[in-house]
């Protein structure tokens, strides 16, 4: 067997392997940590590295226009109704890339960041499980499977949020998260039951092809959007998010950003694919609901971020605001989808929203890592007590400036590219929307300039005299994300054309997704 055959074989089996490799790694980790801590850390990084290379292999093929399906336990698609099916289109691959990059960076960061903690075998096991869950949510083509992976992600992330069990607030945040997740998961399970009762199917493509948009389907749509938006931290269901983000270890927060975005992906998959056929009837109202949720999320997130004095809580509220931009972009795309005069606007809005998913993960992720680095160096998160750190931590300061510019949408960082797409396209729908979006960005800039001033500038404080730059592994992790941010910012056109546009098209042309499983399907052209 030569190399080309082997790569073909890997490509064919990659949807299953992408979930199986971290899952297997998760359960080998406790066995390996009996041997040696360093061996375990290397093993976890290698496992995620292998997963990442499989994701990139699969994505490189999917972005050329192929949709991959993988049927578990059988080679033919004789009975799609009962088979467990993975279906990977460009949108799934796009989300999988984000998740796997975040997880990989988080474990590199954890090497030094979590060194002092005990119970690290469980920590790494949970991180791998969470990664497997996120990737499963993004790759699966089966609604019940989606629910199962959602539960895997929620349970492992709730345990990780509460990882610092000696702090009462971490435990409280973890408890809040598990309660919210369970309620959300029950909503989803109920709507799956509604689908199964009507269409005898759990497969997303099957349901999409049979969708009648009955009264029960409307209830299911409301439940699905409510539950997934709750898990994505959309205002007014965001109350768990600032707690969970700010009380979890920074490396965990980075993956949590990925987990919320996997839920957001669920919202888009439900609106565009499962209800794709019903879109003639409802796209305008669903789109406007997403737009309004986005606007509220943006404004409230920024407004709450301004008044925070805790470093990580402040970033958590700005992460809430960033989610609003994605909803605004995709919602605008949904509103104008059927208007033939505004197809270009819709596509631009979708591209902006989808590109912003990746940019938000990188920008907010970098800021959280910087906050973690400051906590590691000073054991302090309150902005009132920090100051003058730029003297001691020059690399971290540079990374914070990059994150600051990126998150507030300043050129030449990546946030500018996606936000400009969103501003331009929403302006054509309604100028007020884009004015609010720009206003939120300006306020975000104000928030982070204040943080920059109070944490890094100012006179050297005597209590931080001995503060040193953080260890190499944390610098490597932050540097990796900062490099990606700058590359994306300098060449946004390449990224948008090569991976964002296929993802946007995959959402819009949902018929291709359905036809991959049900060849006789005629809608969605």
């Amino acid at each position: 067997m030569n190399v080309a055959d082997l790569i073909d074989l890997l490509l064919q089996h990659s949807p299953a392997l992408i979930v199986a490799v971290p899952l297997l790694g998760a359960f080998i980790t406790p066995l390996i940590s009996r041997l040696n801590d360093k061996v375990r850390n290397v093993f976890v990084i290698l496992t995620l590295g292998l997963t990442a290379s499989l994701v990139f292999l699969l994505a490189s093929d999917v972005f050329t226009g192929n949709i991959h399906t993988y049927i578990f336990g059988s080679q033919d698609l004789a009975l799609p109704v009962v088979r467990i099916l993975f279906e990977v289109d460009a949108m799934s691959a796009f989300m999988a890339i984000i998740s796997v990059i975040l997880s990989l960076v988080a474990v590199i960061y954890s090497w030094s960041f979590m060194k002092e903690n005990t119970g690290l075998d469980k920590y790494y096991t949970l991180i791998l499980l969470m990664t497997a869950g996120m990737l499963g949510m993004e790759l699966t083509g089966d609604l019940f499977n989606f629910f199962v992976f959602l539960e895997i992600t929620s349970i492992s992330s709730a345990a990780l949020v509460a990882f610092w069990t000696n702090k009462a607030k971490s435990v409280e945040a973890g408890f809040k998260y598990i309660v919210i997740s369970t309620i959300g998961a029950l909503f989803i399970l109920f709507s799956i039951a509604l689908f199964y009762g009507q269409y005898n199917a759990l497969n997303m493509a099957m349901i999409a092809s049979a969708m009648q948009y009955t009264f029960l389907d409307k209830i299911a749509l409301v439940l699905l959007i409510a539950a997934l938006a709750m898990k994505a931290g959309v205002v007014p269901m965001h109350m768990w998010l600032p707690d969970a983000y700010s009380k979890a270890p920074s490396s965990v927060t980075l993956i949590l950003v990925g987990a919320t975005q996997a839920s957001l992906y669920g919202v888009f998959r439900v609106c565009f694919t499962i209800y794709g056929g019903a879109i003639n009837l409802s796209s305008i109202s669903i789109g406007w609901i997403l737009v309004i949720l986005g606007i509220i999320t943006m404004l409230l997130g920024v407004a709450m971020a301004i008044i925070q004095t805790d470093f990580k809580r402040l970033i958590a509220f700005s992460a809430v605001a960033e989610i609003g931009y994605m909803l605004l972009g995709i919602g605008t795309g949904l509103v104008v989808m059927l208007n033939p005069e505004m197809t270009a606007t819709g596509l631009a809005a979708m591209k902006g929203g989808i590109f912003h998913i990746m940019n938000d993960a990188l920008d907010v992720g970098l800021l959280f890592l910087v906050a973690g680095a400051i906590y590691y160096a000073t054991k302090e998160t309150s902005l009132n007590k920090l100051g003058g750190l730029a003297r001691n931590m020059k690399y971290t300061t540079v990374f914070f400036i990059i994150g600051l510019l990126a998150v507030s949408g300043m050129p030449p960082m990546n946030g500018f590219a996606s936000k400009l797409l969103i501003y331009e396209s929403t302006y054509q729908l309604n100028p007020i929307l884009s004015i609010i979006a720009i206003l939120s960005s300006i306020m975000l800039l104000a928030v982070f300039v204040k943080v920059f001033h109070s944490a890094f500038l100012g006179p050297a404080l005597p209590k931080f005299e001995n503060v040193k730059e953080v260890p190499k592994s944390m610098l490597i992790a932050m540097g990796t994300i900062a490099t990606i941010i700058i590359i994306f910012g300098l060449f946004p056109e390449i990224i948008v054309n090569s991976i964002v546009e296929p993802a946007a098209n995959a959402l819009i042309n949902y018929g291709d997704y359905v036809r991959e499983v049900i060849p006789s399907f005629t809608g969605g052209v």
């Binding site: 089996h13 299953a16 392997l17 199986a20 899952l23 297997l24 998760a26 359960f27 080998i28 980790t29 406790p30 066995l31 009996r34 993988y70 049927i71 578990f72 336990g73 059988s74 080679q75 467990i84």
Partner: protein, 158 residues
């Protein structure tokens, strides 16, 4: 948690093997009758929990280590995924039932129609049930053991 009276201990010792055997039966017959790895594992673990209540966590912890239980739990999960990967290794797909039709271990295909159940069927499903059973026994018992031992009152430390 300290132990209970001698009567409780004796009755528990008598019923523990019965509960265990019943649980193992549910695991082994998972592909034929209702139940399976998870349900049988939960039955065995509940038997272990009964021993924990009657003999007390201090007595149990001196004999069973939580570390070993967590190794067993990991082994169960690893076996499950390895079996699924073996399906891929035999030239087919992930989770492929590669043992069916080979007439080896659990590889017999039963005749169509009604008849007595044959335990020697099911391919990898019984093996996966064993793996899940191992994971559930070790996992559930480990959780109960740690919770009981962590919540013991101060005076009982010996």
């Amino acid at each position: 948690m300290s132990g209970m009276s001698k009567i409780v201990k004796t009755i528990s010792s008598i019923t523990f093997p019965l509960i265990t055997i019943y649980g193992l039966y549910v695991i082994a017959h998972g592909h034929l009758t209702p139940g399976g790895g998870f349900q049988g594992g939960a039955i065995v673990a509940s038997g272990c929990a009964m021993m924990l209540v009657s003999y007390g966590s201090i007595w149990i912890v001196s004999r069973v280590k939580e570390k070993n239980l967590s190794i067993l739990e990991s082994l169960g999960a690893v076996c499950f995924i390895l079996l699924a990967l073996l399906g891929l290794g035999f030239g087919a797909v992930f989770f492929n039932n590669f043992l069916v039709g080979t007439n080896s271990l659990f590889g017999v295909v039963p005749a169509a129609g009604s008849g007595l159940a044959d335990i020697n069927t099911g391919g990898v499903i019984p093996l996966m049930n064993f793996a899940v059973g191992l994971k559930v026994i070790a996992g559930l018992f480990g959780i109960v053991l740690v919770m009981a031992h962590a919540s013991r009152t101060k005076g009982e430390k010996k």
